[in-house]
């Protein structure tokens, strides 16, 4: 090997370049690595030259169109000495050959992360790199982490390497990338940190075999113990153990050999390959080889290590969860100081559980007590469980998929309910609630409320912008669909969009309150308090605003002071809805909140006007009432809840716009919406 010590494989100061850096995985891993190690000088991706991988504000990694361009454009002192190959399998050989041919003298190590590289290509890579004295790890390695130097290549440690990898005295060498991470976490529980974590890859040919890695670790003074995770296949261990015996290898090893199941079932190995290589490739044979090397019995949980003998060469563990106890026992026996004082024995620690009735029937041995969520996760949990409101969606490709509708060839369905059943038995408003929330209404009166909002949204007279849109279109001689577009194109965040803002405002206030059922009169207590808190905040904001001259944020959907001098000021459409609620003895927390807030703001002098709760607020309150329990149960998203009031307005207004179009198309004369030139005013640009 070119490397002479383990730090030659990876250390601080290395300059790393990444192939196919813009790929899904490479891009993500590179960003995290740059945060952790700050060792990536650039990358290349076919046809993506000139882009940059954004790491954070003001920090980015340049992307070149190929490796040669990277060498041309980067200053010589930044030329990479380590290369990570993330190219697709068919491009691995070409990319690697280009690197080797262009800068064999600079590049020391190549890490091939790509999976599914053919064994023939692997053999060629080995041959090519051997000739040029370049070390290769992989293929299908997850990478390497040098914890002492706080650097990594590849994805070892996932998106939070610091959470698992704490500097220490154990070097992990594993055929499984996942096990590097998992074993590091177990070791830390035993007060042992990690010096190096190395994923060798587990393709048929492991291009840096175990013996070569052990030769590098051999001279590393910081490594006190080596932890191995071994799987069946190949004679890597046989060769390594033979050599270790010959040189009297001095670092103790704890090994876990997995895969005895494969011996019996021939599940995952190319058996013929193993046969051609002879004995020593199967898990059971590897176990024998290690036990023979250690000359020490395998670790048995709960039992003391052999008193008469020191496990100077180490020993084998038979269950992975024995690792912390075993490593601790080894350190004690060999009088090695642990890296950290803490010791957290591994145990069943359920983070979340609800064994329901089953718990009562179980034997005491199987009843698991409540667990403790570790501090590092607790914060995230409390955010997700308490503060994060509504459903969190995992994105997926929705091109040919829909939850909202389906058709099995016989029946179109809305969220699984047959359209024909809805037509026969349910109202339009029932279907609308189902169609927009994904769930049927939970109270009968909700359909009536929705009906009222739809009618209320029809029109606010021919002067409204959206009505004008339809009329202008009719006046220009357009078809109905163009007029519909014109109507919908003339509503927006200011005209019609206030309902969404009101919803956002209400969610902000009540999301973290104890409001569970907005129709329950007992919720009034919560509403009263929310009004007081809100007014208090506004009062403060108003005061601040006076001092700083910055206008304070207004409450959405309170306004339209038509009857300025009245004691009570109402939007007549909102009144109809409120009266329906009162008449039917339905308490509505959000309506109550809005009404109280308008009155209190006047009383506390936050405003001089008697503000009306407008119809947009009414629409928002009604739909938020419908959605509230779904949000609470995390069945729908906050974004959907915000969008619905606007869509409710748009749906009603589309019908109103259609009325304007039909009327105007019948009675209007062509171009009658035109404004004569004489009525248009020319303005000089203010200077």
């Amino acid at each position: 090997m070119r490397a002479k010590t383990i730090t030659d494989l990876l250390c601080k100061g290395d300059r790393v370049a990444v192939s196919n850096i813009t790929g899904r995985e490479a891009n993500k891993v590179t960003t995290i690595t740059q945060h952790y190690a700050n060792n990536i000088v650039g990358g290349w991706a076919l046809g993506k030259g000139g882009r940059r991988i954004i790491v954070e504000k003001n920090i980015s990694i340049p992307v070149f169109s190929d490796y040669n361009e990277l060498l041309e454009k980067l200053p010589e002192k930044k030329w990479p000495n380590k290369i990570i190959i993330y190219s697709p399998p068919e491009a691995v050989y070409g990319d690697l050959k280009n690197v080797v041919n262009s800068s064999a003298e600079n590049v020391e190590t190549i890490f091939i992360i790509t999976e599914n590289v053919s064994v023939e290509v692997s053999a060629k890579i080995r041959n090519l790199c051997n000739e040029k004295n370049i070390d290769v790890l992989g293929c299908n390695t997850l990478g390497v982490i040098n914890v002492t130097d706080h650097v990594r290549v590849g994805a070892v440690g996932g998106d939070q390497p610091e959470e698992t990898f704490h500097p220490g005295s154990a070097t992990i060498i594993s055929n499984s990338g996942n096990m590097v991470n998992t074993m590091a976490a177990y070791l830390y529980g035993a007060g042992i940190g990690v010096r190096f974590g190395i994923s060798t890859g587990k393709d048929q040919l492991i291009l840096t075999p175990l013996k070569d890695i052990l030769e590098l670790v051999r001279n590393d003074k910081k490594t006190k113990v080596i932890i191995l995770y071994i799987e069946p296949g190949g004679l890597y261990e046989q060769i390594a153990l033979q050599w270790m015996k010959e040189i009297n290898f001095h670092i103790p090893i704890i090994v876990y050999v997995g895969g005895t199941i494969a011996d019996e079932t021939n599940l995952s190995l190319g058996h013929a390959g193993a046969v051609a290589e002879g004995n020593g490739t199967r898990a059971k044979e590897k176990i024998e080889l290690f036990d023979n090397y250690f000359d020490f019995p395998p670790y048995i949980r709960g039992k003391h290590l052999c008193r008469t003998k020191k496990p100077t060469r180490g020993f084998r563990i038979q269950a992975l969860h024995d690792l912390p106890d075993a490593v601790r026992a080894l350190y004690n026996k060999l009088e090695i100081d642990r890296d950290y004082k803490h010791y957290k024995p591994l145990k069943l620690n359920p983070w979340l559980k609800n064994m329901g009735k089953l718990a009562k029937t179980l034997s005491p041995k199987l009843v698991i007590s409540d667990g403790i969520i570790p501090a590092s996760y607790k914060k995230k949990f409390s955010y997700v469980l308490k503060k994060q409101f509504g459903k969190v969606i995992t994105s997926r490709n929705m091109k040919n998929a829909s939850h909202a509708s389906s058709n099995d060839g016989e029946n179109p369905r809305i969220y699984g309910e047959k359209t024909t059943d809805l037509m026969a038995d349910k109202s339009f408003e029932y279907s609308l609630i189902l169609s927009w929330t994904g769930y049927p209404p939970s109270n009968e009166f909700e359909t009536e409320l929705v009906k009222q909002t739809l009618v209320a949204a029809f029109t606010n007279g021919p002067g409204t912008i959206s009505a004008q849109g339809a009329k202008l279109s009719a006046s220009a001689g357009n078809n109905p669909h163009t007029a519909m577009i014109a109507t919908l194109a003339t509503i927006g965040s200011v005209h019609g969009g206030n309902g969404s803002k009101a919803t956002e405002f209400l969610m902000k206030i009540f999301a973290n309150s104890k409001l569970v059922d907005p129709y329950n009169p007992r919720s009034k207590r919560i509403v009263d308090k929310a009004v007081l808190d809100c007014v208090k905040k506004m009062s403060k904001a108003k005061q601040m605003s006076k001092e700083t001259d910055i206008p304070f944020e207004k409450v959405p959907c309170l306004g339209h002071p038509v009857y300025r001098n009245n004691d009570v000021n109402y939007d007549p459409r909102e009144r109809i809805i409120s009266q329906y609620l009162e008449k039917n003895n339905i308490y509505h927390a959000f309506f109550d909140f809005y009404h109280q807030l308008a009155a209190k703001m006047k009383k506390e002098g936050i405003t001089n006007n008697v503000l009306a709760v407008n119809v947009d607020a009414a629409i928002a309150c009604i739909w938020l009432g419908i959605c509230w329990h779904l949000l609470f149960e995390k069945k729908i998203t906050v974004a959907r809840t915000k969008n619905i009031p606007f869509l409710a307005f748009a749906l009603g207004r589309a019908a109103g716009g259609a009325a304007e179009y039909l009327d105007h198309a019948d009675y209007g004369s062509a171009m009658d919406m035109r404004i004569p030139v004489s009525e248009c005013e020319f303005l000089n640009l203010p200077k």
Partner: protein, 411 residues
């Protein structure tokens, strides 16, 4: 899955193309007269099943034939032979090549040399495992230069091969190398080469494993022989699904268990968990590895197939993996939770205990999504984080399964 072929495909498709001498053969079914003619012409005939299993000879599945009647009866029987869990595709009659000299050869990739190697023994004709290490030799082959006839001659010479056989054998193994390297194989074996009285090397049995990752095997020049594998519908459907995309892994191997339905992540973790379950009588239904950071729709599809086939009969659902480096737990768990909800009706109202253990990116969102789904189903569950070792979770699951099974039997 790597494609495998055995002697019959070699005889029909590959040997003629690479000028490798082989015995004559007839594939079953064949007319009686044709069989009779061959028996008359050949010094002797052997009936063999076309099956992907070694050790046929020892098991009596290779039968020396004397008459056409024998041949028809035997070929008929062998064509539907089941052996070592494998099933025959068809059967064939092959000419027996008399010899006094048999040679074993295999070409594969070797972990000692990290290159292709050829293994040769002059004690061919028996199972390779029976050949002593001292009687076979393995030589590395330069992947770029390949194997030429002089190198092959030197190797044979070093083994003590009689001079008169070196040339025909060297040419034969070079042809075998050409076949190996131009076809994208991972391993091929001729055992034995039989040397005729005219000093010709005849390949008398063959098997090969192709490397699925090698582009050369994508167009082999013939249709892949379809062996009636004794695999379940579940495995078949999952294999088809796995082959549709490289995104994420969807590997399963049916273990015919009746207890725990395991959705496992990561090769290492899957191995450890299944071993723990088996050691503790957890009776896992299958071995699985669903890691590799699958996107939502891939994971949903994978989980959906598992649930469609296995959820109704499962006694415990185990969703378990180590601390992922790349795989997004929020994405994979949401997909599993959605697939579980969509298939829960298969339980006919019977609750199913669910044990979950995982670590990695997006963990908190992932486990809360899983918790919501399980709460909605009203099934008992326990969810562990990465601070509980997977082997402990697996052991607990096995213990719980055993307890539940024992008590349901008692009831």
């Amino acid at each position: 899955m790597n494609h495998q072929i055995s002697e019959l495909t070699f005889l029909k498709q590959l040997a003629p193309r690479f000028a490798i001498l082989t015995p004559e053969f007839i594939e079953w079914p064949a007319q009686r007269q044709r069989i009779q003619n061959c028996i008359n012409k050949w010094s002797a005939a052997i009936a063999k099943p076309d099956i992907l299993a070694g050790g046929r000879g020892k098991a009596g599945a290779m039968v020396k034939i004397d008459t056409a009647k024998d041949a028809i009866q035997t070929l008929q029987r062998l064509s539907s032979l089941e052996f070592k869990g494998r099933m025959a595709r068809t059967s064939y009659l092959v000419e027996f090549i008399p010899t006094t000299y048999e040679v074993y050869t295999a070409i594969t990739y070797d972990s000692r040399f990290l290159s292709p190697v050829i293994t040769i023994s002059l004690k061919g004709g028996v199972d390779v495992e029976q050949i002593k290490d001292t009687e076979k030799k393995t030589f590395p082959i330069d992947i770029y230069k390949g194997l030429d006839v002089y190198q092959a001659g030197d190797i044979l010479n070093s083994l003590g091969c009689p001079d008169k056989l070196i040339s025909p054998l060297a040419r034969a193994v070079v042809n075998l190398w050409d076949l190996f390297i131009t076809s994208g194989m991972q391993m091929c074996e001729v055992n034995p080469w039989r040397i005729t009285s005219e000093n010709k090397a005849v390949a008398c049995d063959f098997k090969a494993v192709y490397d699925q990752a090698n582009f050369k095997q994508k167009n082999p020049g013939f249709d892949w022989p379809e062996y009636p594998e004794n695999i379940s519908e579940f495995e078949e459907e999952m294999n088809r699904w796995n082959n549709k995309s490289y995104q994420g892994q969807a590997h399963v191997s049916d273990l015919s268990g009746k207890g725990i339905l395991p959705l496992l992540f990561g090769g290492g973790a899957s191995t450890i968990v299944i071993e723990t379950l088996i050691q503790n009588n957890g009776d896992p239904m299958f071995l699985s590895d669903f890691g590799g950071n699958p996107p939502y729709e891939r994971m949903y599809g994978t989980a959906d197939i598992c649930f469609k086939h296995k959820l109704a009969d499962a006694k415990l659902l185990l969703i378990l993996g180590g601390k992922a480096n790349n795989t997004r737990i929020d994405v994979t768990f949401q997909a599993i939770a959605d697939a579980l909800a969509a298939n829960a009706h298969l339980r006919d109202g019977r609750e199913l205990p669910v044990i979950v253990g995982r670590g990695g990116p997006g963990l908190v969102l992932g486990v809360t999504a899983m918790q919501r789904a399980l709460d909605e189903l009203g099934w008992p569950y326990a969810i562990f984080g990465p601070d509980t070792p997977i082997s402990m979770v697996a052991q607990y699951s096995a213990d719980l399964y055993n307890y539940l099974t024992f008590h349901s039997q008692k009831a």
